[in-house]
Amino acid sequence: MNNINDIWDEIDKQFDNDDSIEIDTYFKQQGFKNPIIGDSVTNSADTLIDFTFSPELLPKDTKLSKYNIKKQINSGGQSEIYLAQRSDGVYEKTVVIKFIALRYSAETLRRQFLQEMQLLADLSHPGIVSIIDGGITKDNQPWLVLEYIDGLHIDEYCQNKQLTPKQIIKLFLNLCDALNFVHQRGVVHLDIKANNILINTINEVPYPVIIDFGIANGVNIDDEKGDIFGTVGYSAPEQMAGKKTDQKADIYSLGMLLGQLLVGNSQANIGLLDNKKRNEAFKTLKIKNDLISIINKATQQKTENRYQNMEAMRTDLNNFLYGLPLINQQNHIGHILLKTFSRHKIASILSLLVFISAIGFWGKYTSEISSQQKQTIIAKNKSDELFNFMLTDLFTNLTQIGRIDILKLVTKKSIEHLQNQEIEIQDSQSQLQTATAYANAGKVFDALNLSEQALSAYDKGIAALNSLSNNPLYRKPYLSQLALIKNLKGRTLTAKGQQQLTEKNLLESLSISQQLLNSYPQEDLNEVYESHTQLGWYYMEYENPEKALYHINTAIETAKSMNTRQLSYQWIFNLSQAYQVLAWYQLDYGNPDEAISTINKAISLANRTVDENGENILYFFNQLTLLNQLNYFYLENLQTQKAQDTVLKAINIGESLQQQAPKNLEYLRELAYAYSMAGKLNELDQKLNISLENYQKSLNITKVMNQNDANDFSTANDYANDLIYAGTIHEKLNQIEQAQLMWEKAIEIMNPVHLLEPNNKYYTNTLIIALIKTGDLEQAKPLIKELKESGFNDNEFDDLLKKYKLN
């Protein structure tokens, strides 16, 4: 078959060669009966001309379409849209005929289009444009005949009528209804934006109508190729990425649309702003925080963080309209109560209903906690909204009942959850909450001796706070939280033996707390107190008595002044802890009697907290640690009889704590210490079997803890000490082989610790003892010299040196 251009070349030559060829002759030669092209369009298309210019000239019996196309509405767009009049004798209606700019040649696509069209045609809702007819042409082009809505686009309408936010929400709720109706039938719109929502005013009542469904834009292609339409700023990220979409994509667009309507002309397309700028735009227009939170919830980047369905979003909008608490904030019980109070002014039946359900929610929740059913709580974790709550308010509750083990589960889940949240797109309140949650997660990890995880959580908390640093409204919580996290970080770093980093973080924490104190002198001095206390410990640990004493005294003064300001068990507790630090200082650098007297002050304060507020497990724990320390002091002072009494008290408290919180390693460690003390005292009393029994109990605990976190040197030291003590009893019972094994094990544990932290005198001391016991005096000697020079002073140690003639 010749190309048409070749044929035309032929014709061109023919007519050039012979000017005399008559066209009719040519046609005859070609075998055309009638000339295909006449002399004038007047002859070739006479009826069309009449129809075009003067339809009344057409013969009466001319059969025309039931549609009469009036005009093309759009031009140059993706699809051709015509306004037409339908009149087939039955009814007259203005319709829109739309030819979609896609060719559906694949049979699957054709069927899909027709199915969806049928589905939409069956949807009868005042908020959805009716599909009257539709199909696919011979050229594979899909088309639709739609009801014509003679109204303004929703954004123009809101602007023209100058609607208030509440009026906009009212209008918007109808839109939510329509979309919900659609979603419930498994249809997704996928192009929600102002241009696709018209306001149909019937009897002066405006009603938004959704036009241009995805199907009407050819969006229903989700398999073949990424031929996805959408609108920048409105379409959900997963849609823009060409991924699979569902109703949550519409929720995203709807959130953006609401935001756009609220800001009106002040922003061209809020969907193009980053979260921070968008929230600023809302704030500038004094849009209520609750409303902003609804928009933020709807427009989360990750689908799982959005409202999961239209109904949820609609409910929150409705709640907002009537001053009810929002679903997306039901994690703050205080928020609900606050709302409930403000709502009672309205005193509507609805509000009472929600009040009851809110209380029900809370009641159910606490009953689950008190029954301590892990499984239920884990199941509950699956609900996104609860995570942050779990790590904030719940944290305190769970630590009080000592369920660190549950907290561990909660924390792991919550950390996963927190990691999925994009901090940049959260509002300030959520960012603060996230930071708190991370801080609490860090505390949990720290309590579980999982120092790496703890440090990572703290760093994430600090990162979350970062975005708040320049927000004047959040100055106080920002400083307070930052000081707290730096402090916590310092504590964890101490346990890891990170000398410089610990000091750095603690000093930063102190400087931030002082900033806080300068700006808010009337506020609680917790951050200042914590910073001084931790610095006191730190400088003692690393042999800087002057600095240590300064911080300890400041901590005591702070706690005292807070105690005169208000009656608070927390501050009594804090004061007892501050005395505890002082007692250790006095033991190391002063008089042991003084130390015993100070620790007794601390214990009497601790007793007060337990007697007057016995529900807080932390107060019991404080009692236990103080008793253990008193014991140690007595032993140092050789007051064994007094020690015997206290050690039994300590073991009692410790075992009861163990029952309440069997997986709380911190508590267990103190209990181990009490056992170890009992071992020592019985050893002194020559009750070797009871002594060994107690050492073994202690050893069992410290061994597990050491296995749990080998990087925690303090735990390693405890384990090594228990091995040395138990070994010594074996030795005394003439079980030399067992004794040797235990001592060797102690050396094996302490050698790497000493290498990594040579300046810690306690660790060095432990290693030396183990070395002496195994008879490795040559290795012990230089270490002893080192330790002596650091001013280490310990009766037992001195006795040992004398015994082996090493002093």
């Binding site: 044929i7 046609f27 070609q30 007047t42 069309l48 003067s54 379409s65 549609y67 011979k138």
Partner: protein, 179 residues
């Protein structure tokens, strides 16, 4: 209107008309429609005739219309306008045959003529690629009923060339539409 603008208009296919061109086209359409109405009785039995429509339009617009330098320019413009106007109508008609399948519109003469024009348009676009002059001459003659003499003046060519081109264009389009 300058000849260059006319060429520009001719060069743009109907879908790519600029807004102002489209507005001009709509004005012409309204004018022609008005004329058609007023001529209704004169031409009742023969249907509308392009020549008469255009002649009448020229007479009507002559007084106030300063857009066109001369009658030939105006006629050429009208030819292009006619092509566009009829094409638009033909398109709508074809759309109607799609959306109104029940009425079997494709069996109606108006809709058959619409299809014919649409097919002709397709071939004209090809012809323009092959030879813009052939397409131009065909348009002026077929849609505007312009005389060979008028076209010769307008395009600054001999009447003989114009006539030969017209024959060529008709032959070529006929063959193309046949295949």
């Amino acid at each position: 209107m300058k000849i260059s603008e006319l060429t520009q208009l001719l060069n743009s296919n109907s879908k790519g008309l600029s807004n102002s061109q489209q507005n001009d086209m709509d004005l012409v359409y309204q004018k022609l429609k008005k004329i058609a109405k007023s001529q209704r009785f004169k031409i009742k039995n023969n249907g509308l005739n392009t020549t008469e429509l255009v002649n009448e339009a020229w007479l009507v617009s002559k007084g106030g219309n300063k857009t066109f330098n001369d009658r030939n320019h105006f006629f050429a413009y009208c030819a292009i306008a006619m092509r566009h106007i009829l094409l638009q109508q033909a398109r709508k008609n074809r759309l109607l045959t799609y959306v109104d399948e029940d009425n079997k519109l494709d069996q109606q003469i108006i809709f058959q003529q619409s299809d014919y024009l649409l097919e002709l348009e397709r071939q004209l676009i090809k012809l323009k690629e092959y030879s813009p002059r052939l397409e131009q001459i065909f348009t002026y003659k077929f849609f505007g009923d312009m005389e060979f003499e008028e076209m010769a003046k307008l395009l600054d060519l001999s009447e003989r060339t114009i006539f030969r081109d017209w024959k060529k264009a008709k032959a070529m389009l006929s063959v193309a539409m046949k295949t």
